[in-house]
């Protein structure tokens, strides 16, 4: 009997365990895998990310030179970030904010002619 009373008293006197969320937020941890973003100026459109992605959320069109990602299909595993040979892909620790509209990530890139050959060989040896 009354085994929980001391606990209740302790909770009364200590700080609250929850946050008043929208007004008070916790800063994300350093290594957290949040938003997936692409430094498109570094990107070579080699499409290794699209091949490696387990949920196949990335589509790369080399003819139209676009890089597209469906953030609703993305599972935030970070496999593409590890695989990117140009280190163009990166993840921010912050999560995506709520939005009114469904937003897709669509970026217009450029195939760098000089390095193209090297990366192409890279794909083949993968």
């Amino acid at each position: 009997m009354f085994t929980f009373t001391s606990n209740i008293l302790k909770n009364f006197l200590s700080q609250r365990a929850t946050r008043r969320y929208p007004f008070e937020t916790r800063s994300p941890f350093d290594g957290a895998r949040g938003m997936l973003l692409n430094h498109i100026e570094k990107c070579n459109l080699c499409s290794i990310c699209a091949v490696k992605c387990p949920s196949q959320c990335i589509t790369v069109d080399r003819k139209a030179s676009t890089w597209e990602c469906d953030p609703f299909a993305c599972v935030y595993c970070g496999i593409c970030v590890d695989a990117c040979p140009e280190s163009a892909l990166y993840q921010k620790p912050e999560y995506r904010q709520v939005a009114e509209k469904r937003e897709m990530i669509s970026l217009k890139g450029e195939i760098k002619k000089k390095v193209k050959k090297e990366t192409d060989n890279g794909i083949e040896s993968e």
Binding site: M1, D30, V75, G78
Partner: protein, 358 residues
């Protein structure tokens, strides 16, 4: 006495997951149970024909929402055994640390839900408050809260530095104190004992014969813990399987409570023994052969059967999750019990329907 058939689930306040039981009731006493599944069957095993064997690691993590590390670990063990890959020792210890963290958070989640199932809301809140600290460890060390994607074939993807290790150890100390403070309430309180002692009894003989696994089997007095096989780095750690002999809901609660504390001890041991070195090896070639891989999940023994024939896609992947083996136990436990005890008894096997319906 006339018979009444009462449907239990698939939507039920106690069970967040869709398990349907057709209960035949005489007066207030359950006489017969027929389970029905298949409300959320996803066919993830079939996905192995489309995704290659590296991508399947992320797929099998999504079999269960609670113990993703352990699913991925079991799958990676199977593929590594097939391809003859020797994982670096540091990666083995890191796998142990993360899998034990996941066991802790899964058990804390269950202890909370179980308290909730007989209406002890305050205890539920307390356990989930502690769990949040484990989730923080998980998020800061791996990047995600639950589905952490740290395992890959050939090792792990993230490392722990000495700062993180000391931070985890201080947090573990707090967690241990807080859990121990709840021990008296969980194990001696009138509300808890009245609802759990002698409910849903499974004798040692029955539990073994039905083929139950995990805390249900150990709660009935059978000493069986797949971790004693010594996979990952468990062969270098010192531990004894937690066993209780009564076989009722109370014994299962005790097993899970003691295992939570045991996990803290195992993490400490692993952190003191962790060697330096590489965390993964490069994987070359394609898997070929047939392998059965087993690990201990929070809910019990998990079995993967993997068959590959030298392609990048697997030939067949079969996942036997622990809840799948524990559901037949409901058929033995429920008859003779009061209808009001059904939620408590069903929850005492820790049903994970998303696991069951891969």
């Amino acid at each position: 006495m006339s018979k009444t058939i009462i449907p239990f689930g698939p939507q039920h306040p106690v069970l967040p997951e869709p398990l349907h039981l057709k209960l035949t009731v005489e007066d207030e006493v359950v006489t017969e149970v027929i389970p029905a599944l298949g409300f959320v069957h996803r066919g993830l095993e079939k996905l192995s024909e489309i995704r290659d064997f590296h991508q399947m690691v992320q797929v099998v993590e999504r079999v269960c929402g609670i113990c993703s590390v352990i699913h991925a670990m079991c799958y990676c063990h199977g593929i590594e055994e097939m391809m003859g890959i020797e994982v670096p020792p540091r990666a083995k210890f890191l796998r142990v640390i993360w899998s034990e963290l996941h066991r802790m958070q899964s058990h804390l989640l269950w202890l909370g839900l179980f308290a909730d199932s007989f209406g002890f809301e305050a205890l539920f809140m307390q356990f989930w408050k502690i769990r949040e600290k484990v989730m923080d460890i998980s998020e800061s060390t791996t990047g995600n809260r639950v589905i952490v994607s740290v395992n890959v074939v050939g090792g792990v993807r993230r490392d722990l530095n000495s700062e993180q290790i000391s931070w985890i150890l201080t947090l573990l100390k707090e967690i241990e104190q807080e859990i121990s403070a709840l021990k008296k309430t969980l194990l001696t309180d009138y509300t808890v004992t009245k609802r759990t002692v002698g409910k849903g009894v499974l004798t040692k003989h029955q539990a073994y014969g039905i083929g139950t696994v995990g805390p249900v089997l150990r709660g009935s007095g059978v000493v069986q813990d797949t971790r004693t096989l010594g996979y990952a780095a468990f062969n270098e750690l010192n531990f004894e399987p937690v066993v209780e002999s009564d076989g009722d809901c109370y014994a299962r609660t005790k097993v899970r409570f003691r295992e939570t504390l045991q996990s803290i001890d195992l993490i400490r041991q692993a952190m003191s023994k962790i060697p330096n070195g590489e965390i993964n090896v490069k994987v070359k070639g394609k898997p070929q052969g047939e392998v059965v891989s087993r690990v201990e999940q929070p809910r019990g023994e998990l079995l993967y059967y993997i068959k590959a024939d030298g392609n990048k896609n697997l030939d067949r992947l079969r996942i036997r999750t622990p809840t799948f083996a524990n559901i037949p136990a409901i058929l033995t436990m429920l008859p003779g019990m009061y209808l009001s005890d059904v939620p408590v008894i069903v929850l005492s096997i820790d049903p994970c329907i998303s696991c069951t319906e891969r």
